[in-house]
């Protein structure tokens, strides 16, 4: 009877202590690395908040509503930059949403051979890979001179509106909005495309079966079914647009005083940070940190809202 003994010899082999140590140590170290995410996030909040504390104490909430930016007399208000951030990103979104969703429909429906559709999709994705600073360079030397006549025409015909009341002279809010459109288009297109592709084929077939046209099906069936994911993508794009720095900094003109006109130079929180942080000292650093804190809270709120919208609007089909 050697069988059971033999089996025992195998089953009773315990793991060596060293192996257990490695196994456990590896597990602990992955936990530690996962905790780094939380640590970095909290450290970012803490650093920016502590840096901003002095300015929060000095300027309080008036910081949000005044537009003085005066390093000589140490009076700071971020209204111009906050207004610029919100206006540039919202107007860019207004232009990019129809363009992005239209493109996504164009490359998910069978309007073109599938090879051509994939090519367009790939090109939009490559557009997302081009660094923002290169787009900024292009905007300064190519786009802005090219669109200036069109902006001048806007000023000449609609100049009585406060939004077009200044003569376009190079950098300004309008070119910044256009370059933002270029930057957020790929996000909206990519997410809308995925969302449209995930709409069950039965819904489409059902719609065609009862005799609707292509666009009848798109507007009444397909878009409503995909709306939650598309809205989520649009919100993500809004967050991206608000935080976008380089291209906007290079083309917006970085004006310190407030101007309602879209053709005049403006400012955003991120471009203000990019321009002034390196040379600031004293309470100006703190004021910039305060502005950075506002930017963080804005993007944070938008991203949370995006997640909530996706959960809230998702249709059950």
């Amino acid at each position: 009877m050697t069988g059971p003994n033999k089996a025992e010899a195998f089953t009773l082999r315990r793991r060596p202590a060293f192996e257990k140590l490695i196994d456990n140590g590896f597990r602990q170290s992955t936990i530690l690395m996962a905790a780094m995410v939380a640590f970095v996030l909290l450290a970012i909040f803490a650093t920016v908040f502590l840096g901003a504390r002095e300015a929060i104490g000095t300027f309080g909430l008036k910081f949000l509503t005044t537009s003085a930016w005066d390093p000589v007399n140490e009076r700071y208000g971020a209204f111009t930059a906050i207004y610029g951030t919100l206006v540039s990103s919202l107007l860019a979104l207004l232009l990019a949403v129809p363009l992005g969703i239209g493109t996504a429909i164009f490359i998910t429906e069978d309007l073109l051979p599938s090879r051509l559709r994939d090519l367009i999709g790939m090109m939009v994705e490559l557009l997302a890979a081009i660094p923002s600073v290169v787009l900024g360079l292009w905007a300064i030397f190519v786009m802005e001179p090219a669109i200036r006549p069109a902006l001048g025409f806007l000023h000449n015909t609609l100049g009585w509106l406060p939004f077009f009341s200044t003569v376009p002279q190079g950098p300004g809010m309008a070119p910044a909005i256009l370059i933002l459109v270029v930057m957020i288009l790929p996000i909206i297109t990519a997410i809308s495309r995925d969302a449209l592709n995930q709409v069950p084929i039965e819904l489409r077939q059902g719609a065609y079966g009862i005799g609707t046209t292509r666009w009848g099906a798109i507007f009444n069936i397909i878009l409503p079914a995909a709306i939650s994911a598309i809205t989520g993508g649009v919100m993500l794009a809004l967050g991206r647009a608000m935080g976008e720095t380089m291209a906007v900094t290079m083309i917006i003109g970085n004006a310190l005083n407030f101007n309602l006109s879209l053709l005049a130079p403006g400012n955003t929180i991120s471009s203000m940070l990019a321009n002034q942080f390196g040379e600031a000292d004293g309470i100006q650093v703190s004021a910039l940190m305060y502005a950075a804190l506002i930017l963080m809270l804005l993007t944070f709120a938008v991203n949370i809202l995006a997640q909530w919208v996706v959960r809230r609007l998702s249709l059950r089909y």
Partner: protein
């Protein structure tokens, strides 16, 4: 009852007489259809147009400036012409390497935790949520954070601006992407592989390092390549962390030139020579990033088959 053949159409369909059913292009619904087809086409063209324009300008304007000096010389002083971007190319490589050395091990570790160890507890949920929030943090904020935590406190041997600070700022941006791609890549690995490994007596550590990680290598590598390419083009976190330097790199504890900051600095200078160098640097940077993206596509295509 005889079943009518497919081509033997009935006398009438839904009350319409045979021969009266045909496509009427002038019906409002069909006009609407054509209208929206063309609108979608115009929109798609408009969306692709900037890519063509940007690429054309960068390739022609930057490509025409390509000469050997570009890679071996330092940028000229303002007002002078000639020179190159050798230090910035080296600097971009160095800073991106530093960022990858920090973000990839930490990110892969975090991803392994999320995919292989985490349960539905509060910690894993918090990490996932935090990762999404971190992915949404604007890139300039990462620069502000590193400025406040590292540059202003002079934590590294009393040095303020440094290549390492820039690398850390980029690593903060890369981290969420690396974690997410590792997590998703590992989740794609069939559970049978894990159970099989446990069945032959492998420990968790051995299962992960020998079985699941190699199985998920391609999707993870794709994500890494994309994250590195994105980091190489980032500018905002570097302007006040790595700063800029007109000299060759002097180690990781000193300010360093990078291509992206060079483009930013030289684009807004009123000198033609500097503007030209900005275009040349854009060319080099865009070629690098596009190659990385094509590599990632090749990797991703390998995963699907």
């Amino acid at each position: 009852m005889a079943i009518p053949l497919a081509n033997a159409a009935p006398e009438s369909v839904s009350g319409f007489k045979r021969g009266t059913l045909f496509f009427k292009p002038n019906l409002p619904r069909n006009r609407f259809n054509v209208l929206f087809n063309s609108i979608a086409g115009v929109f798609a063209t408009t969306a692709v147009l900037p890519l063509f324009l940007v690429l054309a300008y960068v390739l022609f304007k930057g490509g025409s400036l390509l000469r050997p000096d570009l890679f071996t010389q330092l940028p000229p002083a303002p007002g002078l012409s000639g020179g190159g971007i050798g230090n910035a190319i080296l600097g971009t490589l160095l800073v991106t390497l530093l960022a990858s050395l920090i973000a990839i091990p930490v990110g892969v570790g975090g991803g392994i935790y999320l995919a292989e160890y985490s349960r539905k507890g509060w910690f894993a949920q918090f990490v996932r949520f935090g990762n999404d929030v971190l992915a949404g943090v604007p890139s300039i904020i990462s620069g502000v954070f590193v400025y406040g935590a590292i540059v202003a406190t002079r934590i590294f041997f009393n040095q303020s601006y440094s290549a390492l600070a820039g690398g850390i700022a980029l690593a903060v941006l890369m981290l969420p992407t690396v974690i997410k791609t590792t997590d998703e890549g590992l989740r794609l690995v069939s559970n049978d592989l894990r159970l099989g490994a446990y069945g032959v007596g492998a420990s968790r550590f051995v299962t992960i390092t020998r079985i699941t990680l190699p199985a998920a290598l391609t999707p993870i590598a794709t994500g890494m390549v994309l994250a590195i390419a994105r980091a190489a083009g980032e500018t905002a976190p570097l302007i006040f962390t790595a700063l800029f330097s007109p000299f060759w790199p002097e180690g990781v504890f000193n300010p360093i030139a990078t291509m992206s900051v060079l483009i930013f600095n030289f684009a807004i200078m009123p000198y033609d020579a500097q503007n030209q160098l900005a275009w040349a640097a854009s060319f080099v940077l865009v070629i690098m990033i596009l190659l990385a993206n094509l590599l990632a596509r090749r990797l991703a295509a390998r995963t699907k088959t």
